[in-house]
Symmetry: C2
Subunit: 151 residues, 2 copies
DNA sequence: GGAATTTACTTGAGAAACTTACTTAAGTTT
DNA sequence: AAACTTAAGTAAGTTTCTCAAGTAAATTCC
């Protein structure tokens, strides 16, 4: 059996739809939630770094971070290594928002997975490490401060 | 081995991020693309049905469909079975937009999957039918006009 | 070692994308 | 056939983004 990427892509598209359309209890826009997710899963980041991952202008990131800060979901802290830069840290409240949404996804997915056969559940379990590896190839987990590549 | 839903949820979240942040060449907003995706994968739908799947107000759907129509990506057609309703059909151009984005995802995912070991690729291939089934449990493929459930 | 350039962020004005509230018209109920 | 419900469109206002310009810290380069 060989891996059909087209089929995998279609399935992942559907999971994406399931994942996104959760009731946004906190009145935060899609992009704002995405920024908070990035901070919560990847740790503190500069505005510039967020600009790169979120596909909006740097100006939009400034405004989004300002809004998140007003709501107490992130903190701005000076970057000790660069006086121009700012590190945006998620607060416990901010992390709780993301965790809450994840919990909701887990609840829903659990309910669905219970309806699979044991063999199907087994197959997914067996593939999980490979799927995690695939994800990691695309977005290697960043440490707090990544060293620039050697010249 | 038993299926860890929490881990699966986290992995799927990361795929979601990969999937969304494609350069939107067509100048269409996220929600607008989502509507087009729905029509392209699920077939013609009423505005009311789109309201349910997209988590925006019915008014927003009207505006989005109007925009898509101006751009030649969908057509409005009267619903023969209900004079109040309209069925929104994707045009070939509309379908092409969605297919183009999928092609880009396939290209990227192919490049990543090539870096997995054969055993990893095999594991994902073996899990694919189960993943497809899981997705289908959440959003059964709608026929053109679904009969209401028997009372 | 100090001017010129680049990098990191902010601000303000305006465009785009949504929401709320209302309207019109077709179907349903009694 | 009058009263109600459902499907869609419209108008006005808010929120969210982009573009352009501005400030301040770091870097480059004579």
């Amino acid at each position: 059996m060989t891996l059909r990427i087209t089929e995998l892509t279609r399935v992942l598209e559907e999971f994406t739809r399931m994942s996104i359309r959760l009731p946004a209890a906190q009145r935060l826009s899609f992009t704002t939630l995405s920024v908070l997710h990035t901070l919560s899963t990847r740790g503190p980041k500069r505005l510039t770094e967020l600009t790169a991952t979120e596909q909006v202008t740097q100006s939009a990131i400034t405004q989004i971070v300002t809004k998140l800060e007003r709501e107490g979901l992130v903190r701005r802290e000076p970057d000790p290594t660069d006086g121009r830069a700012i590190l945006v840290h998620p607060t416990p409240a901010g992390t709780a928002v993301i965790d809450g949404r994840r919990d909701e996804r887990i609840r829903r997915l659990t309910a669905l997975a219970e309806r699979l056969t044991p063999a199907e559940q087994e197959a997914i379990a067996a593939a999980l490490p490979a799927l995690a590896h695939l994800v990691e190839l695309s977005a290697p987990p960043t440490t707090h401060r990544s060293a620039p590549p050697a010249p």
